[in-house]
C-alpha cells in the first residue's frame, strides 16, 4: 500500500513515500515560511522520482502538530484537499508521535519537545515498547522549567526545543538527560507515512473534511494574552 506522508510543522519540511514497509522516496526542505510556494512542487518531485503519479497513492498521512501554526495550516489544508479530491483515506499524525518514532527502539522514557509560544514547549511522554511508539501522557503545552521539574528518571530529549534548551536541561537534570542527535530531532515524512499506514490498515483514519491541526493553544485573543501584554509591557 502506497502512502504519502508530509510534515510542515517546523523549520524543516519533509515528504516521504512508502510502499508497505519499504521506503520509496523521501525529501526534506528547509522552507522557512515558503511552504505554500514549495510544498506541492516538492510532492510532485517525490512522485516523479518514484515514477508514480498522485493517482497511485492509496492513503495520506499529515503531521498535524503541534508546531508552527501557519506551517500546520498549509500542510493540513494541502493534504486534506488531496485526500478529499481523490477520495482516499487520510490520517492526521501528531508531530510528537512522529519524532518519538525516530527512537522507537529505545525503551527509556522519551520526551520530544517542540518550541511553542514564549518559554513554552509542546510535549508528551513516551515509553516505547518493542519498536512501537507508546505515548503514556496527553499532548500539552507547558513551561520548560515546569516540565523539567517533573522529571527524575533518565530521559531522552529530542525535538527542536531540545536543541534550544539543551544547556538548561543539562543544568537541571545533569546525568539523567540524554540527547538524541539533530537528525533524529525532526519528524520524517516516511515516519508520518508509516504511522498512517498502521492506522489505515486498522481502518482507523480521519475524515478528510473535518481534519484539523493540533494547536494545543487557543488564539491569543481568546486567552487574553494580548490584553495582558499591553498592560505589562
Amino acid at each position: 500500500m502506497k502512502i504519502l506522508g508530509v510534515d510542515t510543522s517546523s523549520e524543516i519540511g519533509t515528504i516521504g513515500l512508502i510502499d508497505d514497509e519499504i521506503l520509496v522516496a523521501e525529501y526534506a526542505l528547509q522552507a522557512n515560511a515558503a511552504y505554500l510556494k514549495r510544498l506541492l512542487l516538492a510532492i510532485d518531485c517525490v512522485l516523479k522520482e518514484a515514477e508514480l503519479t498522485i493517482y497511485d497513492i492509496e492513503g495520506f498521512g499529515v503531521g498535524i502538530g503541534p508546531g508552527s501554526w501557519t506551517g500546520l495550516r498549509i500542510g493540513t489544508s494541502t493534504m486534506k484537499s488531496l485526500a478529499h479530491s481523490l477520495k482516499k483515506p487520510i490520517c492526521g499524525i501528531s508531530t510528537l508521535d512522529a519524532i518519538a518514532y525516530n527512537v522507537r527502539f529505545v525503551e527509556t522514557l522519551v520526551c520530544p519537545i517542540i518550541g511553542g509560544r514564549k518559554d513554552e514547549v509542546y510535549t508528551a511522554f513516551y515509553n516505547n515498547e518493542g519498536a512501537i511508539v507508546k505515548r503514556i501522557t496527553g499532548y500539552r503545552a507547558v513551561g520548560i522549567s515546569d516540565l523539567l521539574a517533573e522529571i527524575s528518571n533518565p530521559t531522552i530529549f529530542l525535538g527542536n526545543a531540545a536543541l534550544k534548551y539543551k544547556y538548561l536541561i543539562l543544568s537541571k537534570l545533569k546525568g539523567s538527560a540524554i540527547f538524541a542527535d539533530k537528525l533524529a530531532s525532526y519528524p520524517r515524512g516516511s515516519s508520518i507515512a508509516a504511522l498512517a499506514l498502521t492506522r489505515i490498515r486498522n481502518s482507523d483514519f480521519d475524515d478528510s473534511l473535518s481534519l484539523r491541526p493540533l494547536y494545543l493553544r487557543k488564539p491569543a485573543a481568546e486567552t487574553g494574552w494580548d490584553l495582558e501584554s499591553r498592560q505589562h509591557p
Binding site: L36, L40, D44, I54, S77, T78, S81, S85, R212, A221
Partner: protein, 335 residues
Amino acid sequence: MLILGIETSCDDTCAAVVADGKTILSNIISSQIDAHQKFGGVVPEIASRKHVELINYVIQEALDSAHISFEHLDAIAVTCNHGLVGSLVVGVAAAKAIAYCWNLPLIGVHHIEGHVYANIVENPDIETPHICLTVSGGHTMLIYVQDHCKYELLGSTLDDAAGEAFDKIARFLGLGFPGGPIIDRLSQDGDPKAFAFPRPIIRRKDLDFSFSGLKTAVIYTVNDMRRRGTRLNLADIAASFQQAVVDVLVYKTIEAAKKKEVRTVTLAGGVAANSQLRSTFRACGVHEGLRIIYPSRSLCTDNAAMIAGLAFYKYRLGQLSKLDLDVMASAPLGA
C-alpha cells in the same frame, strides 16, 4: 467552462461554481461572524483556524449544490492577493491540491478585482471602460476599468476604509459588529441632517478618501453630548454619519466618471449593500445621465462567485498561475 472559485481572504470561507463567467451554479458562503462578534472585529488567528476547519466542507457543498463533481471542472480559481495572509494560505493550499489532482489550470485572483467582477458576473454586457467604486471593511478604491483585467487605480483611502469607519463608529456607540448593516438599519429612523458632520477632503482635487477625521468628529460630538447630559438620539447620529460617508463616496465617484468621461459606474464590496449609498447613487445617476450598477447583496460581501467569474476572463487572456503560487497581503491591481 466550469470554474470552481475559492475565497478565504478574510473571515468568510467561500466556494462557488460559475459557468462561463456568468452563470452561478452555486455560491456557498460560510460566515464566521459568530466567532468574531465578541471581539468587535475579525481576529486573524481565529479566522485562519476556521478556514482550515470549513474549507473542504464548503468546497464539497459548492460542488453538490451545482450538481457536479471534481471531474466536471475545467479550472480552479482562488484569491491569492489582498487580505489576511494566514487566511489566504488556506484557500490557496486547497486550490493548488485540487488543481494538481485533476490536472486543471490554476488561476490566482486579486480579491479587489474579484469585487469589480461581481458586477460583470451579473451583467456580462457591461461596457468598458467604466468606473468601479469598491468599498468594504478592508478597502475603499476608485478603479478605472479600461478593459477586461486592465485597471487604473484612481484613488483610495488615506486612512480608514469606509466599512472600517462604520465598524468603529458602531463599536463606539455600543451597537455591535459588523457595523455596516447595523448603522444602515438604525439610520432608517434617523434624520441624516441632524448633525453636520464633516465631509473629509471632498473639495480636494484628487480622488482619494479619508474617513478617520469624520470618525473623530462623531466621537467628539457624542462625548461632548454625554458630558453635558444631552439625550443621545442614536438613530440621528447614525443617519448623519452614514450620510457624510455616502456624500463623499458619491461625490468623488461622479468626479471620477466625469474626469474619465465614462457613462457607467459600478459599486462593489460590502458597503455597496448599504441602502442609502445605493439610493443616493441611483438619484445622482439619473441626474448626471450615468448608468449605475451594483451587485445583488449576496455578491457585495466576500464570495467566491466573483472570483470564479473573474477567473473566466483571466483564463481567456491566458493569465494562469503555476503551482508555486504564493499569497500577498496587498498587491497592485492587474499584477
